[in-house]
Every structure is written in structure tokens, then in C-alpha cells.
């Protein structure tokens, strides 16, 4: 009975594949889980080798961390990331729409400009921004960070949203024009509302990239505007690495991005693949 034989083989394959995937998932997650677990370990157990494998969880790393300064840096991270995301969306979305709908000779030039500014290594911007901010007094300010985050966020918004607009039919807009709606009104009332999911996707990615930034915050802030990733590195102090605190801080920094990513997985994946799969 070849049919059932085939089924049996297929089932075996599935079981095998499932097992491999479970193993791979564990390997992928292990380093991350180890780190999170470490943040709940008492300092002694961190260095205790295998003896520290079982331990009584403690929140002391978190409480010792939650002083004004770390809270302040989390706030800075939050403000700079969200404001920059919103600005980029407000400025970039109409532009992306125009780029998608208009027929322009310079299109390839724009694409190159946008892609290149997304691809440029941060150090290329950090040097001139540092020099200019020295004179403008924007070093170590949230405004300064927000502006510099626009370098990649704006490009990201235009890139992703144009992809989205390219894929949406124009029938509705054209119908609205025929009904005498103005171009601006059509954009606001017809186009924007149907872009909801795309806007969410883009916003998540912008927020993620800004939140995850380390380089600009390291070079362009000192204390007032210092963001959480830099503050965590700061725990490597003169007296040594405070592993418990570092782990707790790192865990706190990843909570928002992890929560976002897991809750909105579909959007996130859509955004990340948009550039590559469809162009």
C-alpha cells in the first residue's frame, strides 16, 4: 500500500523536522534566556560557577538600578525614539505617496539618495553632526538626537511607504477626483486611512531602529540626553563590571522592543521584508 507508506514517510519527516526546529529554537533562545535569568541572580551566584545554577531569584539588581539616572535614560530613549518616529512619518509619508504616484525623471536618483542615506555607516554622520552641534549647542540634547535619527528614519519611511503605495490600487483616488474632491483632501481622507497597517509597520521599525541606536547616543550625548543603551554600558565602571546590573539594565532595554515585535510580528516581518522581496 504505497499510499499509507507515503503518509508514514511524510509523518516521519514532519516529526524529524519538528524536532530539528525545536532544537534550533532552543539554541537560538538560550543565550538570550541565560542573560535574562542572570538579571535575577544575586551577585554571588553569578560568579559561583556551576554552584550558582540553582539560586533564589532576587530583584536586587533591578531595584539598585532603578535610580533616577537609569529611569532618566529610559525616558530619554523613549522621547527621542517616539518624537523622531512621528516626525519622520509626518514628513515622509506624503513624500512617499508623491514619489509613488508621480512620474518623475529623477526617480532613480531619489531612490539612490534614500537608500544610500539608509545604508551609510553612522560614523559618516556622527563626525559632521558632532562638529556642527558643538557650535549650535545641540550636543547632549534630545533635539540633537531626534534630528540625527531622522537621517535613517526619514529614508526608512519613504522607502517603506512608497512600496506600500505602489502596491495599492488607484481606483479610489481617481473616483474621488472625479467626484470633485481636492488632491489634498483625497490624500487625507482616502489614502491615509487605508494606509493604517503600513503606517503601523513603518512606525514600529522606525521606533525599533531609534531605540536600538547606540552609536549616535554614544558620540553625541553626555548625560542630559544619554539614552538607556549607553547608560547600560556605563555600568562597566572603574571598579569592574557589575554583571547583575548590566543584565538587569539590558533586560529592561529589550522589554519594549521585544513586546512590540512579538505583539506585532506580522507587521514587523512585513516591514523588514518589504524592501528586499518586492523592491
Amino acid at each position: 500500500m504505497p499510499r499509507s507508506k507515503l503518509d508514514a514517510a511524510a509523518r516521519r519527516n514532519r516529526i524529524l523536522a519538528n524536532t530539528i526546529v525545536i532544537a534550533l529554537a532552543i539554541i537560538t533562545l538560550l543565550p538570550f534566556l541565560w542573560f535574562v535569568v542572570m538579571s535575577f541572580k544575586p551577585a554571588d551566584d553569578i560568579f559561583a560557577g556551576i554552584d550558582g545554577f540553582f539560586f533564589t531569584p532576587t530583584l536586587e539588581n533591578y531595584t539598585s538600578l532603578w535610580n533616577d539616572r537609569f529611569a532618566g535614560s529610559m525616558l530619554n530613549s523613549f522621547i527621542t525614539s517616539s518624537v523622531s518616529t512621528i516626525l519622520a512619518l509626518v514628513i515622509g509619508t506624503p513624500g512617499a505617496y508623491a514619489l509613488s504616484r508621480a512620474t518623475m525623471k529623477q526617480e532613480r536618483t531619489f531612490s539612490l539618495l534614500i537608500l544610500a542615506s539608509r545604508m551609510a555607516p553612522p560614523v559618516a554622520f556622527a563626525i559632521p553632526y558632532f562638529l556642527v552641534y558643538r557650535y549650535m549647542g545641540l550636543l547632549d540634547t534630545r533635539t540633537g538626537l531626534i534630528l540625527v535619527y531622522l537621517t535613517f528614519n526619514l529614508a526608512l519611511v519613504v522607502w517603506l511607504m512608497r512600496n506600500f503605495f505602489d502596491a495599492t490600487p488607484r481606483a479610489l483616488e481617481e473616483a474621488a477626483w472625479i467626484d470633485g474632491a481636492s488632491l489634498w483632501k483625497t490624500f487625507m481622507v482616502i489614502v491615509l486611512p487605508m494606509s493604517g497597517p503600513a503606517l503601523v509597520t513603518t512606525a514600529i521599525l522606525c521606533f525599533l531602529y531609534s531605540w536600538n541606536d547606540f552609536f549616535f547616543a554614544l558620540t553625541l550625548t553626555r548625560n542630559n540626553a544619554m539614552t538607556a543603551p549607553v547608560e547600560v554600558v556605563n555600568f562597566m565602571n572603574y571598579e569592574g563590571w557589575e554583571w547583575g546590573k548590566i543584565a538587569a539594565g539590558g533586560t529592561l532595554i529589550m522589554v519594549p522592543v521585544l513586546a512590540f515585535s512579538l505583539l506585532m510580528r506580522k507587521y514587523l516581518v512585513a516591514g523588514m521584508t518589504a524592501g528586499a522581496v518586492k523592491g
Binding site: I46, V123, I127, L154, S261, T273, A276
Partner: protein, 318 residues
Amino acid sequence: MENRRRDVAVNAVGHAAKAGKTPAFERQRQRFFWLLLAPVLAILAVVTLLPTLYLLVTSFTPLNLANPATAWDFSDPLVNYRTLLTDDRLHNSFWVQAKLSVVTVVLQLLFGLVVALLLNMRTPLMNALRTSFLVPMVLPPIVVAIIWKVLYSPDISPAWWLFQLLGWNVQTPITDASWALTAIIVADTWEWFPFTMIIILAALAMMPEEQREAAEVDGASIWQLTWYITLPYLKGTLLVAGLFRLIDSIKTFPLIYILTDGGPGSVTEVSNYYIFVQSFSFSYIGYSAAVTMVLLAMIVVLSWVIIRAVSGGSNAQE
């Protein structure tokens, strides 16, 4: 892209024919689009083009912050570019960069492909586990770096507890000249294989079923299916994903900053990191600007290749 192409064609041929479209309206539309586009272009120019120009100008001066007289000193504009030609440490950094980029991109494509092909069987269990593969990629890179610092520190690493238990005497790779770069590569591959994975998965989801089914009916094995049908279909996607990763790999910073600081010696010092040290530790701003210009030129070329590849890819699919 395909849609846009089609639309462009429609624009060109059939627009006027559509109801209510006069040339006057068409002009108004174009004006409106430029109006929407103007702020983006203006701001993009201010936040990206101006700084790049400033960088270019600075690269012709020996600017050193500890020596104010060096600002705007154009007496020997090419001095940095001459130094650059003889700077062994810089050349070494390009070589390190090349090794790091090529190996990580290949490994990430490989792992990404394997995991994506597995996950594409889409059993309920796999759909449930799928998200866990995304975790490394969305973590803040600085946290990823710290996680690997933990794993590579014998005092606190679970791996070394195991080695100790087994009685092995293992050196930590991050201080070993022949293994330090490998240590970075392992961490980087862990961090970014999910990226190639989701791109490949997305492409697989759009793969037309007919060919596969036909081959399956003909009794092709799963390996044959993968080799002769799936992989050729994925060629374009792999290329694009690889190019994206290639460019991003030039930005690798936190891993090196935290794990090796470019060492031991200079074996893990990539160009990006070298520029950082030169500019932000020793304030050789002029020289760093020149090196950065070279790096930027390389990235623009790569970006251009990507645009060609992506448009080429979609042509092939059409």
C-alpha cells in the same frame, strides 16, 4: 516595483483617456506631488547631504580638535588622502572588514535558508515557534554584544562551566588572535540570520505551487524539489538579502566595541571601528573624514548594485 511599472505605463498611455482627466488637471497633480515631495527632499538634503558635504570639506583639512589652528587649514588639501594610502592599520581594517563581511553574509544566508526551508513546512508547532527565531534580530545590538560578552567570559559563562566539568582547558576566543574574529562572526551570525530567514520565508510564501506540485506528482524527492525548484526560485531573493546584509555588516560596531575593542592587536578592527577610534578617541577629525569618504564611496557603489539587482530581479519575475 512591478505595480509601479505598470502604473507608469498606464500613466503614460491611458491617463488622458480616463474620465475627467485634462492636461490642466495632470499639471495640477504634478505640482501637488512636488509640493508633497519638497519637504522630504529639503529635510533629507539638510540632514544627510549637507553633513556629507561638510565631511568632504573637512577631509581636505588636517582638523584635530586638540589643535584649533588645524580647522579650515586647506594648505595641503590632500594630506589625509596621502596618509591613507600608506596607513597599514587602515589597510588591515579593510581586510578584516572583508573577511568579516563575506563570512557572516555566507553563514547568515546558509542558516537563514535552512531554517526558512524547515519553517516553510508550516506545521502548527513551527508556526508557534516561528517568533522565537526573530528574537536575536530585534534585540538592541548593544544587548546582543553584552550577551555574547557573558558567554565568552570564562568566569561567568555557562559554556565554561561545562568545559570545566569535562576537564577541558579552553581559552576564551576573544583574546586569542586566531579566534577573536571567529568569535565576532559567531555572534553576528546569531544576531542576523533571522533577517535572511524572514526574507526567504516571505519569498517562499509567494512561491507558485504548480511547479512543485507537478514535480511531486512525478515522484521527485524532497531534496530534488529543493535543489531543482525551490533554490532556483530563491536565487534573486538570496542575492538581495545578501547584499542588504553585506552593506549592514559594514556598520558592525557594538559587537566589536564590547567584545574585543578591535583587539587583540588589530585582528578585529574593522574600518568603521578604526574611524571611530581615530575621530572620537584621538580627535583626528580631518583624517577620519577622509577615510569615511572612501567608505561612503564603497557603500554608494554597493547601494547602486542593489537597486540594479532588485529591479533586475523583478524583471526576471515578470
